[in-house]
Amino acid sequence: MRSCSLVFAAFATLACAAVAGAQQAGQEAVFTGTVTSAAGAPLPYASVFLKDLRAGVATGTDGTYRLVLPAARVTGRTDSLSVRLIGYQAKTVAVAVTAGAHSQNFALEANPLRLGEVVVTGEGTSTTRERLGNVINTVDTSLIARSNESNLVSALAGKAPNVEVNSSSGDPGSSSYIRIRGPKTITGTGQPMFVVDGVPIDNSTYSTEMEPLAGTTAPNRASDINPGDVASVEILKGAAAAAIYGARAGQGVVLVTTKKGQSGGTRYSLTSSYSFDNVNHRIPLQRTWGHGSDGVFPSCDASNPDGLPAESLLDCGPSTSSSFGPQLTAGTQTFDHFDELFDTGHNWNSALSISGGNDQTLYYFSAGRDNDDGHIVGPNNWYDRTTARLSASHRVFQDLNVGVDVSYVNTEGAFLQQGSNVDGLLLGALRTPPEFNNRHFIDATSGLQRSYRFPFPSVNSALDTRGYDNPFFVLNDNIAQSTLNRTYGNINASWDALDWLTFKETFGADYYVDERLEGFPQSSSGQPSGQVFRADFKAFQLDQNLTGTVRHTFNPSLSGSLTVGQNINSREFRQNAVTGITLVAPRPFDLLNTANWTPNDSQSTVHSESYFGQVDLNLWDRLFISGAARNDGFSEFGVSSQRHWFPKASLAYNFIQQNGGTGILGYGKFRFAYGETGTEPAVYSTTQFYSSGVFFLDAGWGSQLLQNQNGNGGLSQSPQKAQPDLAPERTKEFETGVDLGLFNNHADASVTLYQDRTEGAIFQAPLAASTGFVNQAQNAGTIRNRGIETSINYRPIMNSDLTWEVGLQWSKNENRVLSLNGQQFVDLSAGGGGGFEGTVPTAWLGSSVGVIRGNDFARCGRGLNISGVDIDSECGGAPRGALFIGADGFPVPDPTTRVIADGNPDWLGSLRTSVTYHKITVSGLLDIKHGGQIWNGTRGALDNFGTHIDTRIRGQSLVFGTSFMPGPVGGPGAGIPVVIDQSWFEGNGGGFGPVSAQFIEPGGYTKLREVSVAYSLDQPWIRQWGFSSIDLRLAGRNLYTWTKYRGIDPEANLAGAAVLIQGVDYFNNPQTRSFVISLGLNR
């Protein structure tokens, strides 16, 4: 019997504990006072609490607090009254908890190093910053707010070293990819696990139609979090930090802590922001050459309302999809096929929060609404998110606290077809000849779609393909909608069973249903008979976590704690999808209105059962040693070894720890850590199964037979052989570093070095077909990442009136594939891989994971022999890497498959500054990605079609190496002028030719991510209006990008967060920049 009664047992235990918590009565005690900075400025939102009694309150905007203990809780004993506030050193005084009034003021010293502040380390454990033996980057609420991003993942861009964030496009609701310290896997998407308040949540990206290279953009599901609800984000970067999460932490862990109520009066906060978004980069198109081929217009038909040489049939006349026609005569009207698709988008984001509580009960309620109306014209480009959240806790007894935290999210969106897709927006738009008016997308006579390849549709052409859809038809007549309802949260309890023993229980759940509907009208080029796609994606996760912590102080110089815990998790996913083709009537987009249905259903369930333990030792308050181990059992692991250990150990030594961090070197910490984490295998890789409903392919020609015949169901052996011994991928990491506080707290610096090695990376290894199988998942790859991370913060001015701080981050990661079980490369397969023919994302032995393999032109010094010609000897002393020019004056394609691009950056950096003068804060963030390459497939395709501005030179006589493709050349034809013409762009010089390397471009950038000016009003007259403060902010987001990339934006990826490979651009929808105004009312 498979049952997990202990979840309930744990709760019963805690419920019983309530009985044990009875207490006696006494008289009321009242503590009051003011909390100020050392300079005397009142400090709002500081937390004031009695340690033993666990009673707390927050200061108001004037810095005052009033903590009332009801009569029943007055003990008469001595307790510690502490004040904590982020950015200040905590202070504690001993007080006697006796009936009556007590006054206690606090003046807090600044604490820019944040020593003593609590850091969440995962699975119910936490520590203070100076005790950490590994890097955990913290991003707090103010940094998230300044980003003006509605997607929490996008908000993390530039916030922590070696945390790469890549937004897939500027479309509302598009996904953002996040990767920490380089790729460590071949099969997954390589993104970290997300945990909210101790409970893992789903951050999947499900592409429409399960086809990430086409279809529409899709959200990553962590974007369902309202960023305004986030108190802080902690990033567990390496295995040393994340080992406590075992086999789900191989790519790191992002821990999100949400805002909670503070005791004191009820607080209200209403914030609202409004943005103006527009396209930040455009694709340059030529507007001098017309439709046609070989310098002549297509010759099919005469009548033509747009003055376009006409065609009545698809592909009638020579090369009618291209713009290699004659030069347009002066006065011919041409159209900007890029700009005409865009206008200004607006994002209106509003959030209300109400919070408060008393010494026993705390609550935080928030509601948010984010309306994102995209920057692309037409009605089908928007994404709305509605969130509501309640967090509440109640101290049932002095030693038993129970809480609940529940969030509800509704998102609705409309998306546009993009990418490698004849129904895609930019694919059709940018291939259109300059003189064709796409705005007339409906033919006046027939009422049917017209496109440049099908300009005069007759009434009988309703079911004929248009070659490529007219972009305005895509904007107005296609639909791709998503409606998501999601609830996630937890119930939790904390019981101090004995003074040295605490139990914590968290029971969490995350459930959503994403309902998708796509409709392609009749005459859509991909499916001219019309198509309806309907799918529900359902995900349901349950997580139960119980820990017990024992603390003991052996003597003043040695204390420690031991935590043991258990985690039980269940993840279920179900996809119910049906594609219906051939619309019966033109509308509605309803499956019952289609003639032919194909289901594509699947489901999966993953269970895990884990045990973990952690020992923390504190010696002399200077040396902190931590050791932990987790034992994971996953249903995805091979049954022969279903349990695996993941250990970690760390050491932190505070070699300088002067009071308050004063002095030139006021604080110094050395840290060293080792840890192991895992990446779980794909579900159901361990069992053999039969395939149903599959086709037997007639080699690669497209002809095929279904294995069901004449109504008889057929079953055939799956070509993938089960791997019953599959184990998790294992990442082992060493990490060491130093943290320093300098110049009387005016500066701090941190350096971290790490090296990790992922062993047993899983991929599908080929088998000899004569075994009966084609391939088999194997733990056979080895990948290494190593790098350095530095950050320096400098605070030149730290007055109570004026503060100025500058932060610099720099990080570098080097990724290398060390072993692929004898293979030279393994193509990345997850989610369709994310690549194209000729540009295949690959893990390449001796190079990196995520490089692109393809073909280049022949170059000197590569030892090439092409068709019997020894290239190097023909190069005649040209430098290594010089372009080889054949006798005809043209370069020669090299048939050798090689690595042609590496999307991984050389280094990442960011520069942040912030100046506060009284109530005005000015801040900015520069985000730098240096190196890394992108495949500009859009340019390649547009060269082929003659619409890219690069093709304007057609007909000119040019010389390779000097007047064309400048650079060193060699070979018999070097220096010979040749005519660059249609045949070049449609052949070896275009995107459909064999040489994809020529469309690889530098993908580095420097982005002005954030600029903002904020002003906070809290003058008395504001208070007379009933507000405690009013916040005004004017901000810019991604205002400028410095880049050598010539495509839509260097921060772009066609398949978004759905795949591991980044740096693929093929008719991606563009990125945006924004101006934002924001108003906050607080009471």
Binding site: M1, T687, S692, Q709, Q717, A768
Partner: protein
């Protein structure tokens, strides 16, 4: 207070016990270690259906198309089919066809079918599975020569190549067992139902006829090495397919999922890639053979075949009959059986039996007969009658008949290279192309151009 403390300790202990007890069976079972999206077992009916579809692709798809261009029944006239028809192909060209021999819809499922049938005591059903296995493996041996068989579809990760001679011997033995099983009369011996058996409607005698014809075919293929095999082939063919109504023809229908592969290739997917071949068109026209319009289309009454590699011209394509989406492609026929008798009788000095068999075949095709038939008559007739099948290439390699002019001076390839991605890269028993023989054991002699 002490009571309370004991109570707290007891509760804490209880929590620990609850945790340590763990969750029984939480990690294994249905939906966890068993895939809920696909069955883990398959019955013989489902396997037979899949094998039928998979082997239809193997026998009537890519290979038959390519060999028909090599044999100049057809011609490659566009894109990749021009070099392929001129024998120029990369090492990996036929990997999908190789996979069809062993993987899904091939040997692994044919074996599973037999196992399931035998477990149920249905030896007749197992016999049908053995006939399919013999058909698959014998054909593969014809094409590639030495192939993995005795160690194939087993736990051996790198199966050894069995010499072609041994593969043929194993195929004969498999068919012998099949014939014993097909003759079974026990109560558990029912075979597939008529709706599942899309070829013979559960007629076990017809499956037995097919088994005899296959035995005859594969004996004939070894006769160049072992002339004694002619007599064996003749004896088997005497019990072989006894009427055109008993032909093994592929299952096709008007359902798009069951469309004839030639139709899919030539009309839907790759229009113009192949056209009628000049040699066969001219042969049929010069002999006034009534099969010309049955095989090919005309342009205004004119039949034009393309030379190897194509060229300019309004070339004929397949006839409307042959391009009907539901045309059922012949795989093993009465015509082949009769012509095996004719050839085997001729080679064993029995001219009258040869004449009779030849004329019976010609009559069944609606073509006049003759007496004193020669080997050229027989193989040429087989070349015409077995149009679109793999077998004319096998006959040519043995007999150099009919005397086509190969597209390259090197002659028509005697075998295919082992595919690299599907086999050689993961099986060290397979030699690289340079070390592979040009011809198979059973056809040691090339044909002079």
């Amino acid at each position: 207070m002490t009571m309370q403390r004991h109570f707290r300790l007891a509760l804490s202990a209880a929590a620990c016990v609850a945790v340590c007890a763990g969750c029984n069976g939480w990690l294994t079972g249905s939906d966890l270690t068993e895939n809920p999206n696909a069955p883990t077992t398959a019955g013989r009916d489902q396997l037979l259906t899949a094998v039928g579809a998979g082997q239809t692709v193997f026998q009537t798809g890519d290979l038959a198309r390519v060999f028909s261009t090599w044999m100049q029944q057809m011609a490659g006239t566009d894109r990749q089919f021009i070099p392929i028809s001129l024998y120029q192909y990369p090492e990996d060209q036929f990997s999908a066809d190789w996979i069809e021999v062993y993987d899904a819809g091939g040997l692994i499922d044919e074996r599973a079918l037999q196992k399931d049938a035998l477990a149920a005591g249905d030896t007749a059903y197992a016999g049908i599975g053995m006939v399919w296995e013999a058909f698959t493996m014998g054909t593969a041996a014809d094409i590639w020569g030495d192939i993995p068989y005795s160690q194939a579809v087993s736990d051996v990760l790198q199966p050894a190549l069995d010499p072609q001679q041994q593969v043929f011997a194993q195929v004969q033995a498999k068919l012998d067992t099949a014939l014993v099983y097909l003759a079974c009369r026990s109560v558990t011996c029912s075979g597939p139902s008529a709706t599942i058996d899309l070829w013979y409607g559960d007629s076990l005698p017809l499956w037995a006829e097919l088994a005899h014809t296959l035995k005859a075919r594969f004996y004939l293929h070894t006769a160049t090495r072992d002339p004694g095999a002619y007599a064996l082939a003749l004896a088997q063919a005497d019990s072989g397919i006894s009427s055109p109504a008993h032909d093994l023809i592929s299952w096709q229908s008007s359902d798009p999922n069951e469309w004839n592969l030639w139709y899919q290739f030539m009309v839907i997917q790759r229009s113009g890639y192949i056209s009628a071949g000049q040699f066969l068109v001219d042969l049929l026209r010069t002999t006034n053979d009534p099969r010309l319009p049955l095989y090919f289309s005309s342009n205004g009454g004119a039949f034009l075949g393309a030379p190897p590699g194509g060229g300019a011209g309004a070339f004929s394509t397949l006839s409307a009959t042959r391009l009907d989406p539901s045309f059922r492609q012949p795989m093993v026929t009465y015509a082949e059986n009769q012509l095996i008798i004719a050839e085997a009788a001729l080679q064993t000095g029995q001219q009258s039996i040869a004449d009779a068999a030849f004329n019976a075949e010609r009559a069944s095709q609606g073509v006049p007969g003759k007496s004193g038939v020669t080997l050229n008559d027989i193989i040429t007739e087989k070349y015409i009658a077995l149009f679109q099948q793999i077998e004319p290439w096998n006959d040519y390699k043995r007999t150099c008949l009919p005397a086509i002019t190969p597209a390259q001076a090197s002659g028509v390839p005697g075998r295919l290279l082992y595919p690299s991605s599907a086999e050689r890269n993961a099986n060290q028993n397979v030699p690289p192309p340079a070390e592979q023989p040009a011809r198979n054991w059973n056809q040691p002699n090339g044909c002079s151009g």
